[in-house]
């Protein structure tokens, strides 16, 4: 295998903070990993566990969820609910013997373009070390 492994990271970004943050990273001409595949959602709490699992079992090497910082949610409390839910999703992932490090939650505000670029790069690097999504081999898709 000479070809370098390029992970695919499905990213659910909230419209009001993280997606705008990603936009800022772009308009500020910041370089960030092309592994990130951004999808806009209205709120991080709109992301049902089924989104995360479906993305993972459909072959994503990592799943990133971005929301506003606690207290800054456009809908006031959405991200607090996300936080609780995400903690459980990670636990269930562990219980199933899946790698819960492949799921990430990050708080990125609309003004944090550089942070978005940093998180994107760091996470891509982390996933590159973990390698390809193992469920691609253990269950056929």
């Amino acid at each position: 295998m000479n070809k370098e492994f390029k992970p695919r990271i499905t990213s659910f970004l909230c419209k009001w903070c993280s997606y705008t943050g990603a936009d800022l990273a772009g308009t500020s001409r910041l370089q960030y990993s092309t592994s990130i595949i951004p999808l806009q959602v209205m709120c991080s709490s709109r992301v049902d566990p089924v989104f995360l699992l479906k993305a993972y079992l459909s072959g994503s090497d990592g799943v990133l969820l971005g929301g506003c910082h606690p207290g800054d949610c456009h809908y006031e409390t959405g991200n607090y609910h996300t936080r609780r839910r995400f903690a459980l999703v990670k636990e269930v992932f562990e219980s199933l013997g899946l790698e819960s490090e492949r799921l990430k939650l990050s708080w990125i505000s609309a003004s944090e373009g550089p942070k978005f670029a940093r998180v994107a790069n760091e996470y891509t690097e982390e996933i590159r070390k973990l390698g390809e999504n193992p469920t691609r081999k253990s269950i056929f898709l």
Binding site: K90, E91, L105
Partner: protein, 321 residues
């Protein structure tokens, strides 16, 4: 039989005093191993009510799955400990109003799992079941077995912590009180101690048998979405096959949807035709909810279900950046 008589008496009293229009209880089933739900609206019908080891049905599912019938009606319901928690959960989730239900707690010593009885009789049909307290006699064509109660109880009952209704208007008989149940936690800890690949194999062994009949979802008192995510086809979240990808998504997501709302009544496991250990992951999530958020589903009628509540200062070590 004593409980049955007491139950009949209190149903009659509630109907005579016009406190309820309708009462949900159990009657002797047409098959010996399962009781049938009974809808009582007159005093005469109350004589058909029974309560014994076969009364596994969680009657609270009628509140959410048969909404029209219960809208703005005074309804009485006979509940075991787990059923009472479902009723409380329905009240907390605003599916029914507290003032419209009269909760009658019955003392529960556990209910049987049909599949366990049939395993004991080697699949031979059971024609009669007699509950002697500690033991249960099952009779059929050419056999007569005396079974220990613990051998045939539903696994949710063997691990039950709250056998009595915690919220009730009338309680008949003697309450058992809270049962400290270490075995329930031990099972989860043992499972967690396995390596990742062993956990993967173990869960795969269970969920791979699923035939997607959705019996578990249909009997679940906490599953009452108008359109379940497995039935949606635009977008289609889940394939329609019985491949492991699809069965895994179904079970894991159903589990997460009832997280903090599962009362561990074990109805799903009793309903499962493939004998899948559905409670394992439910218990694991319930334990996690209790440890992290300090909430036990359906115990506190003044509380809030864990997943619709939050604290601002929760730990968030897993968050990146």
């Amino acid at each position: 039989m004593n409980t049955t008589n007491e139950l009949r008496k209190s149903i009659k009293a509630l109907i005579a005093e016009k406190k309820v229009d309708l009462f949900l209880a159990w009657e002797k089933g047409s098959l010996p191993l399962t009781a049938t739900p009974l809808f009582v609206s007159t005093e005469d019908q109350a004589d058909r009510a029974v309560f014994d080891v076969t009364c596994g049905n969680n009657l609270s599912i009628y509140f959410t799955k048969d909404r029209k019938q219960f809208a703005n009606r005074k309804v009485g319901i006979a509940v075991k400990g787990c059923d009472a928690r479902s009723v409380v959960l329905n009240i907390l989730e605003k599916q029914i109003q507290r003032e419209n239900v009269v909760i009658v707690g019955v003392p529960c010593d556990g209910v049987l799992d049909r599949k366990k009885v049939l395993a004991k009789t080697d699949g031979r049909e059971v024609l009669e079941l007699i509950d002697n307290g500690e033991t249960v006699t099952v009779k059929g064509n050419g056999f007569d077995l005396l079974l220990n109660r613990n051998e045939i109880l539903s696994s949710s009952c063997l691990a039950c912590t709250y056998p009595d209704a915690q919220e009730y208007d009338v309680f008949i008989g003697d309450a058992r009180g809270e049962v400290p149940n270490e075995s329930r936690l031990k099972e989860i800890h043992d499972f967690q101690a396995l390596s990742a690949s062993e956990r993967w194999d173990k869960t795969r062994n269970e969920y791979e048998r699923c035939i997607r009949c959705y019996a578990c979802r249909n009997v679940c008192p906490s599953c009452y979405c108008n359109v379940c995510f497995v039935d949606q086809n635009d977008p289609k979240w889940i394939g329609s096959t019985c491949d492991y990808t699809d069965t895994l998504i179904f079970h894991v997501i159903r589990n997460l949807h009832v997280a903090g709302r599962c009362v561990e009544c074990g109805a799903c496991q009793r309903a499962c035709p493939m004998d899948i250990d559905l409670l394992m992951l439910n218990r694991k999530v319930a334990m996690e909810v209790k440890d992290r958020f300090g909430d036990i589903a359906g115990l506190d009628i003044n509380g809030k279900p864990a997943m619709s509540d939050f604290r601002e200062d929760e730990k968030q070590k897993f968050i990146m950046g």
